[in-house]
Subunit: 478 residues, 2 copies
């Protein structure tokens, strides 16, 4: 943590402990500098950060005052997707999101992608180990030794998952190329073409495209922005439709950022048990929960192996790292076979390096840093949205990760918004990607993983300006 961040956090704590009341004047910059033995510019930076976080406000020619605290934003309503199984569409929009960087080049601010911040010193030990392992040619052969991935890494993953109350044996874990491969394989072994799979809604587009590729039908279940998939709605759906599996992202959800309370996770598991269906649990953002200890996984309640837990290090470390894993429970043999036919073994060097990084405590240190950074960035981002977007928007209030869901006024078409913003080098993810039928057209998902900067603030301002412009045009054309 930098010095100004430390000072800001100290002040922030004093405010939240009531040491300074709302509306009170705070120490002057000169005073702060003297009290903490820091430079004037460091004191200024500390206040600037607190201002960005919406904790203090500046009154010209007077000084800094405690501001009315950022209350949690106004959340979207529970979602209301179509209540019947449907085919997934939207591939071309997903492709557009995935390839827009190629067309726009370096200048594009990619708020639409779920890319983490990997420009951090806490990853340096990992890179050093990986570079040194790469020089040993023997490591190029080792992948062939263990079809399910190197044991050293599986041991570390099993340990890590104890934070989510999950008791996994290293042999319960299969290493994959990315969480996407883990999810894809899990869906393949639990379904057959034509089956119906229930999902939370809005839902990650990668999984839905997997359902599409397998000719599966998707049933989108109403989902609450704080408690997740509606158990009640799912129960009704299970009574009505021949559902084979349910796929959810219950911790630090993508795109809504919620974490299902443990008791709801348990209820979901019991429901799956009652109707004898599989649960495919995507936990890719789970390690980035702002609350520690992090919440349980559904897998932690699993007594009969019906839950396949899937995750990776693409969001916690870096997207190019390409290491995921699955804990497939009773489907272990099927997943081993499917992993073999899907891509054979997994590259060795990243596995060796990551196992070492985790064993040395480097991963936990890195997670601590990122959780704090993302939480801080969330508050700054919510402040910007308040400042630059129309008042009547609703946004998610993420409890982990780095993704924010924004519900715009109903008449705004976010695909059109994205096209207009692309001309200004800003990219967002239109809401329709997160529904099988192109629902959520007035919603967008943005990320706040990058450290807050003037460049990002400008991007948010551009989004706001464009929305106001579209609203004006709609008003005129009425």
């Amino acid at each position: 943590m930098k010095l100004y961040e430390k000072v800001a956090e100290e002040l922030s704590q004093q405010i939240s402990q009531g040491y300074y009341q709302v509306g009170t004047k705070l120490p002057s910059i000169r005073c702060l500098s003297k009290n903490h033995s820091i430079s004037i510019s460091t004191a200024q930076e500390a206040y600037r950060l607190l201002e960005d976080q919406g904790i203090v406000e500046v009154k010209p020619k007077s000084g800094y005052y405690v501001r009315q605290q950022n209350s949690p934003p106004k959340l979207p309503e529970i979602s209301r997707p179509i209540q019947r199984p449907i085919d997934v569409s939207q591939w071309h929009q997903v492709l557009d999101l995935l390839t827009s960087h190629n067309r726009h080049g370096e200048d594009l601010i990619t708020l639409g992608r779920a890319l983490p911040d990997y420009h951090t010193a806490t990853l340096q030990p990992l890179l050093r180990t990986m570079a040194s392992l790469t020089r040993d040619v023997d490591n190029l052969g080792r992948s062939q030794e263990e079809l399910n991935g190197l044991e050293a890494l599986r041991v570390q993953i099993a340990r890590q998952m104890m934070h989510s109350s999950c008791q996994l044996h290293p042999d319960d874990i299969i290493i994959t190329n990315s969480c996407q491969e883990a999810l894809s394989i899990s869906i393949r072994v639990t379904t057959k073409p034509g089956d119906v799979v229930a999902v939370d809604s809005p839902s990650f587009y990668g999984t839905m495209q997997t359902l599409r590729s397998l000719q599966l039908k998707v049933l989108e279940i109403p989902t609450h922005p704080e408690t997740g998939i509606s158990i009640e709605a799912l129960e009704l759906a299970l009574e009505q439709w021949p559902i084979t599996a349910v796929q959810v992202t219950p911790s630090c959800n993508n795109p809504l950022g919620y974490t299902m309370p443990d008791n709801r996770k348990k209820q979901l598991y019991q429901l799956a048990q009652r109707f004898d269906i599989a649960i495919i649990e995507d936990d890719i953002f789970g390690d980035l929960s702002y609350n520690t200890p992090r919440s349980n996984t559904i897998k932690s309640f699993d007594q009969d192996g019906r839950v396949i837990l899937c995750s990776s290090f693409s969001k916690t470390i870096a997207p190019g790292f390409r290491l995921g894993w699955a804990a497939p429970g009773r489907y272990c043999d099927l997943v081993t076979h499917m992993k073999y036919v899907s891509s054979g073994c997994t590259a060795t060097v990243p596995q060796l390096a990551l196992a070492d990084f985790m064993a040395q405590g480097g991963y936990e240190r890195h997670l601590r840093k990122m959780r704090q950074q993302y939480k801080q960035s969330r508050d700054i981002m919510l402040g910007w949205l308040k400042r630059y977007l129309p008042e009547n928007i609703r946004t998610s209030y993420p409890q982990g990760g780095f993704l924010l869901w924004i519900e715009l006024p109903e008449m705004i078409d976010s695909v059109e918004l994205n096209t207009r913003l692309a001309l200004q080098n800003v990219q967002i993810a239109p809401g329709i990607l997160f529904s099988a039928t192109g629902k959520y057209r007035n919603c967008i998902r943005i990320n706040y993983s990058g450290e807050p900067s003037a460049r990002q603030e400008t991007a948010i301002k551009k989004i706001g300006d464009e929305i106001f412009k579209m609203l004006d045009e709609l008003e005129t054309n009425k």
Copy 2:
């Protein structure tokens, strides 16, 4: 090339040019040492190599003589698999092959796996580049830029494939995690569950397990050990069965080592055109052809995009490298979608390093070295087989790669042979893996990728001894 290898090659050429006739005495070691200005021990090593290759023989107290040349071995007959579509079995035997190293540890001589020799100086530049790229954290993010793989690498692959008369545009190529992923995706986009796929026979078990995972039926086509899949038998099959695709490995075949003549490849393509089916061409060993320029790919005859060419660098560089690719022709959009759902993007650093290695000519230098090494090892291996195995065996005569197929006396059960050999730390691949129905029970596949050593020779001797023992036991139990 080492000095003794150079001297041996020179002598070998003089022999093949008729300068020394069969039965002629060759220069003494002292004489050779003087003529070539080499040490006595180098001259001895040169003769030892020629002896191993079966080119010269030593007569005690007399000297070295030109031996009756190693004629190509007695080849197996054309295969005669069951002529109807069937389900693939044998997964547990494949799993056993893939995991036996775990149970036996370092001492196991794994002749059963198709692992290349990656302990070679020609790979050092690649490893150095990769290590240095790893240190730059920016490279961990770059994979997300290009869904189909980095353009720099696709350019190099397109160039490389020109050796096989293939005109590919970099945009025709999609990078994958291994050839297995390329094959798996290719089969998925050209078939639907229940379809029939024709394959050469014996055939690579990885592809057959993919067919199994997709609930496809396999039709094994009679295959000639020199000219490959029988066009005539395939034509008959196409008239009789609703075949959707044909999957073949026509260059440096696994396990038979043949390369289909170009005109047969063209005929195969024309047949596919006539019956409007897709061809999935596995070219993973193609770059290791002993004859240069290498033969055409079937893809080089492709006029309407029905051929999907699949390959990787797992056999030419190292198994842990995990970079493959597909050139999917008319199936390009489908393959892009399937690759995305299968594992998302592909790791960046290996792609960047490989593109550089290829651009600098390092890959071509490495291939030249490996082709020569493997060809030399083939001849030594054939010599050992002559020496240690029963006379009435038949073996393939590989034209590239490093795999040898051995047809043992009909009563020998190679699964049993493998079990017995495992107790002596030798592993082979039983023939049943290469058939959907467990045919080829009296065949084995071994590799000769490692540089010939006393350890390997001992392994071959153990195989021979065990076979003789089994034959004796069978004789006794009659």
